[in-house]
Structures are given as structure tokens and as C-alpha cells.
């Protein structure tokens, strides 16, 4: 049944090979709502990589999986020196003048043609959904459209969130959708005049089957291993994971390997080359099999607003070991009773030792995770909530 009004979703990147939780989530919602009869546009850039922003998809309009995709060129025409200098001050939590904050925002990828599209056609959409809040398209587009904009911030407790330029963004949009209660609570703390908001959650696709033995055979993996899936970047604590994993397994002679899946080239120290297996970007099915084959999944990031990969690990019956610095990861582990949380390197090492010495116990603990993930990350529930919110917005406008 057709739904009233057109919707637009604005991820900074969209399409095959794009790695990123916010982008994947927005794409799933867009296609899910299209499947339920909504007329859906995706407004995005021609980029696949969020460092270079190089044009890897053609600009223009295409029809993909039931949605109309408009791709606009991402413009990077400054040396980004201002951004780099101010970034250092942000990380050091130094006071930064508002004008410098704005210069920091604008000295990065910009999408003027997307701005033009929203300026001319924004009024034609029932709602336009932006994510995540840190990227230029969301910052600019959401404030341009105001009441018509829905922000899915994917907020973490990062220093950037405290910049005053983000206040008008969170306070002027029509509504804000959060992925979890801890994310909402954080936003309420930072933005006292937060716009109308609700927790809509996020979902994961439940695989029909897993092939853990096939995965091990395809990649020649014999012994026990822990898995990391995601962007291999400093922001996600990848470097720290590599470092602490190396020290732990070397000192304790644990027979564990680290299998890593995701974007960005990685550099493995010589001493760890026989312990770290880099698979790069793989298909969704191969990633699912990796989750099932692993003895544990490690979530080292301190900045999570939902953590799709933790859900995927639990669906596969695999134990999660999470950095307790991310309130959302801790929250999931405590609610599910299926994950271990560490607060320092020593605790992380003991988590690894547990997996190495008691794999059966690890499997037993992880068992509760599948039902938790199915309930907490159901796309049906997420889409029902979103449709109800959109319909309420439509009704209140009449």
C-alpha cells in the first residue's frame, strides 16, 4: 500500500563496498520503508571512501533496490590544514572560538550540489533523514530544512559533540531518532534544549545459515581466534586493540589469533604477523561465517551509538568482549548477559585468557545473546516505530 509523501535519506556514502555503521543503518531503513510502500529517495555523494572522498560512483540518478539514488560530487578543494590544526585542539579539549569551529566544519568534504537539491526540492519531501551528525551533509542539510529534517545523530561521547556549533543542529530539527537509550541520555546531557526525540533502535539482518567450518577452510585458520569487524582506524581503537592483543598473547603464550575484517590498510608489527590475519573487506555472507567461526568478537571502540557488529556476533552465538568506555556496549552486555566488558588492558587480557582457556564456557555465556539480538535489533520493530513516528508527524502537520 502506498504511503503518503516522499521521504529522503541522506547518508554521506551509499552503495556496494561502503563500510560504516551509520551508512548501513540508513540504507537498511530506506530500503525497508520503500518495501513498505513509501516513495524513497537516497541523496548521497559519489564517494565510497570517507578519507579521500574520491568519486567512485557516477554522479546522477539511478534506481537501486527500490529506491531512487541521487549522487552528488563530494568537493574537497582545500588542503584541510585548518581542519587538522583545529582537530588537535578539539581532541585536547581546548576552548575553540565559534568561527574556528565553523572553519573546521567547512574545511572538509562539502557537497554544494546536494545543498542546491535540498534548497530547491526540500519542501517536496515529507521528511528528510540525515546521519551521522558529524558529516557536513547532515550538519548543513538538516539545518536548512529545520522542521522537515530528522536527525539520526549516531552520537558518541566524543570531544566534537561538545562543540557549540552542533547545538543549533540538535535543537532546530523536527525530530531526532536515537539508536539506544544510552545515546539518548547522552544527548539530553549535552543538549538541554534537544528537539523532539525518541529511541527508534536499529536492526540487523538475521542470516539464514552459517558456515563456520567453510570459513576456516577457505582462509586456512586452524586454532582459536578472536574477531574484529569494522573500520580499522584510531577512532575505533583499532591501534590500541592491536597493541594490547599483541602484548597479551605474547606475555601469556595464549594460542589465540586475531582475525580482522574491514576497510583501511593495516600495518601489523613483525612480531605479530603470524597472529593477525587481515581479510580486508569481505562479502556479508563471509562476514557472517566469520562471526560464527570466531571464539569471541572484540568491540574495542569507545564511541558506539548502537554497535551492529555486537548484535551480529550474538546472532552467530559468539561471545562479545567489549570496551566498557562505550556506555552503549556496556549497556548491551549487561542487559543481554552475554558479553564481557573490560575497563583496562589487564581486564582485556583476562577476557582473552578466559576465551583461550574456557571456550565452552564462553559459548555457553554467548547463548543468551542470540535471543537478545533478535529482540533488540529487529528491523520489523525499528521500521514499525519509524512509520509510527512519521505518521504522527504527518498527522500533527495537518
Amino acid at each position: 500500500m502506498a504511503r503518503p509523501g516522499r521521504l529522503a535519506f541522506v547518508p554521506a556514502r551509499y552503495g556496494p563496498g561502503v563500510v560504516g555503521g551509520a551508512e548501513a543503518m540508513l540504507g537498511e531503513i530506506a530500503r525497508g520503508l520503500a518495501g513498505r510502500g513509501w516513495d524513497v529517495d537516497v541523496l548521497t555523494t559519489t564517494a565510497r571512501d570517507h578519507f579521500s572522498w574520491a568519486a567512485e560512483f557516477p554522479a546522477g540518478v539511478t534506481r537501486e533496490d527500490g529506491v531512487t539514488v541521487h549522487r552528488f560530487p563530494a568537493v574537497v578543494d582545500t588542503p584541510r590544514r585548518v581542519r587538522a590544526a583545529i582537530n588537535a585542539a578539539i581532541v585536547a579539549r581546548q576552548p575553540i572560538a565559534a568561527a574556528d569551529q565553523m572553519a573546521w566544519l567547512n574545511d572538509d568534504m562539502r557537497v554544494p550540489e546536494l545543498f542546491d537539491h535540498l534548497l530547491e526540492h526540500g519542501d517536496g519531501y515529507r521528511a528528510v533523514v540525515f546521519a551521522p551528525y558529524l558529516f557536513w551533509p547532515a550538519y548543513v542539510g538538516a539545518q536548512l530544512l529545520g522542521e522537515r529534517a530528522v536527525l539520526v545523530p549516531c552520537l558518541h561521547d566524543e570531544p566534537e559533540a561538545r562543540l557549540e556549533i552542533f547545538r543549533p543542529l540538535f535543537e532546530s530539527v523536527g525530530r531526532v531518532w536515537f539508536l539506544s537509550e544510552p545515546e539518548r541520555d547522552l544527548a539530553r546531557t549535552i543538549f538541554p534544549a534537544l528537539a523532539e526525540h525518541r529511541v527508534v533502535g536499529s536492526g540487523v539482518r538475521v542470516p539464514d545459515r552459517y558456515d563456520p567450518e567453510g570459513f576456516r577452510a577457505r582462509h586456512g585458520i586452524d586454532g582459536p581466534f578472536v574477531l574484529y569487524v569494522g573500520r580499522r582506524e584510531r577512532n575505533k581503537n583499532w591501534d590500541h586493540l592491536l597493541d594490547t592483543f599483541g602484548r597479551a598473547v605474547t606475555r601469556s603464550s595464549m594460542p589465540l589469533s586475531l582475525v580482522s575484517i574491514g576497510s583501511s590498510e593495516i600495518s601489523v608489527p613483525n612480531a605479530l604477523t603470524d597472529r593477525v590475519i587481515d581479510l580486508g573487506v569481505v562479502t556479508d555472507a563471509e562476514r557472517d561465517d566469520a562471526f560464527a567461526a570466531a571464539d569471541a568478537y572484540v568491540q574495542p571502540s569507545a564511541y558506539e551509538s548502537f554497535s551492529r557488529t555486537m548484535m551480529e556476533a550474538w546472532l552467530a552465538g559468539t561471545l562479545v568482549i567489549a570496551n566498557g568506555a562505550a556506555a552503549v556496549s556496556r549497556w548491551h552486555c549487561e542487559r543481554s548477559d552475554a558479553g564481557l566488558v573490560y575497563d583496562d588492558d589487564a581486564e582485556f587480557e583476562e577476557c582473552l585468557r578466559f576465551v583461550a582457556e574456557a571456550p565452552e564456557a564462553a559459548r555457553a555465556i554467548a547463548k543468551a545473546g542470540r535471543s537478545y539480538a533478535i529482540e533488540a535489533a529487529s528491523w520489523v520493530t525499528v521500521l514499525d516505530t519509524i512509520e509510527a513516528d512519521l505518521t504522527a508527524a504527518v498527522s500533527s502537520e495537518r
Partner: protein
Amino acid sequence: MRVLFVTGYPPPFDARARAAAEHVRALRADGHPVEVLSPAPSAAHHHSELGAWRSLPSMIRRFRRFDRVVVEEELLRAAPLRAGLRAARAVETWRAPTAASARPVEPVTVWPTDRDGAMAEIRARAGHRPAPRASGVHDDPGARIRQVPPLVLPEPTSTRPGASTVQKVVRRLTRWQVDPIVGRVNQMRAALIDQFETLERPDGR
């Protein structure tokens, strides 16, 4: 008619930039293809340091490609921009609507004719204004320090030929010494504001 609009543009979304975006929308609605040139990177199609003489050649080349150049009046203070505009086929100035015209008008309240109603109205109105302090001190030191803007070093740009290059070199050479001082001054300002706000809170917390 191909139009180049030279203006401050979002972000930030202040009244001036929003008005500029609305003007672009209006020009396009009239059928004109419009491109925007802003003095700093923004949602505009182009950006250029309008106050720097080194930008002049590129400005001239750009202006010649359009049938009309519309310039935000405030930007005309930049001499290189004024010089470049001599190469344009047609120039028009545009002024952002002033904030005064957008200021909301306070609703006129009709006063009640009975005493209780009048007193209620008086109290209601008084409640919207800060009450004088019981101590009789009418000065608000917190407000005064808040009115002092954070210390920001001036941009090393000058309309005089060559001056901005010298300014940039001086800025670069003294950055190691000056930047920590600026940071410390702003930290002290923030600490003072925090302190005053704590003191001004009724519960003193």
C-alpha cells in the same frame, strides 16, 4: 540569464546566510541559473578570499563567465573584489534584510479592569524580567564577563598589496608563543563565567 551571487552562505545558518539562500531560491524560481561565490568554504559552489589581491585574476575570470554578478553589499568593502567587478558585464548589489525587520513584535496585552486581574498581569509581566537582587546590587558581573567575546586573533588578511603576506609570516613565526596565550586567556574567561554562574545560582551550587 546566468547569475553569479557573491555572498556569505551557509553554514553557519545565521540570518544573513539564510537570506542569501532564500535569494538563490528566488532567482532560480525566476528561471535564472545561479552559482554562488562565498568568501570562505561553505555550501557555495565556489569560494575565494575576496579581500586578497592574489584572488583578483581568478575573480575576473569567473565574473566574465556570467551575465550578471549580484554582490552582497557588505562584501564590497574588499578592494580586490571591487576591482574585479569592473570586469563583470553587469553588477547588482544585494543587501541582506536587517535583523531589525525580522525582530518579533511583542504582543500588546489588554490590561484587566479589576485589581486582582491587574495585579496578576503585573506579576506575570514582572516574572519575565530579571528581578533586582535582594542585596540591592543591580550590577550583574556575570553578564559583563559574558559580553566579553572569546579572544580570537585577527585573520592575517589585508586589503593593502603585500601586507597580508607579511602578516601571515609574522603569524606563523609567533604562533608557538601566541597561541598558548590565547588558549589560556579563553580558558580563564570560561572559568570566570562558570564561577559567576555558580555564584548567581539561587542554591549556590
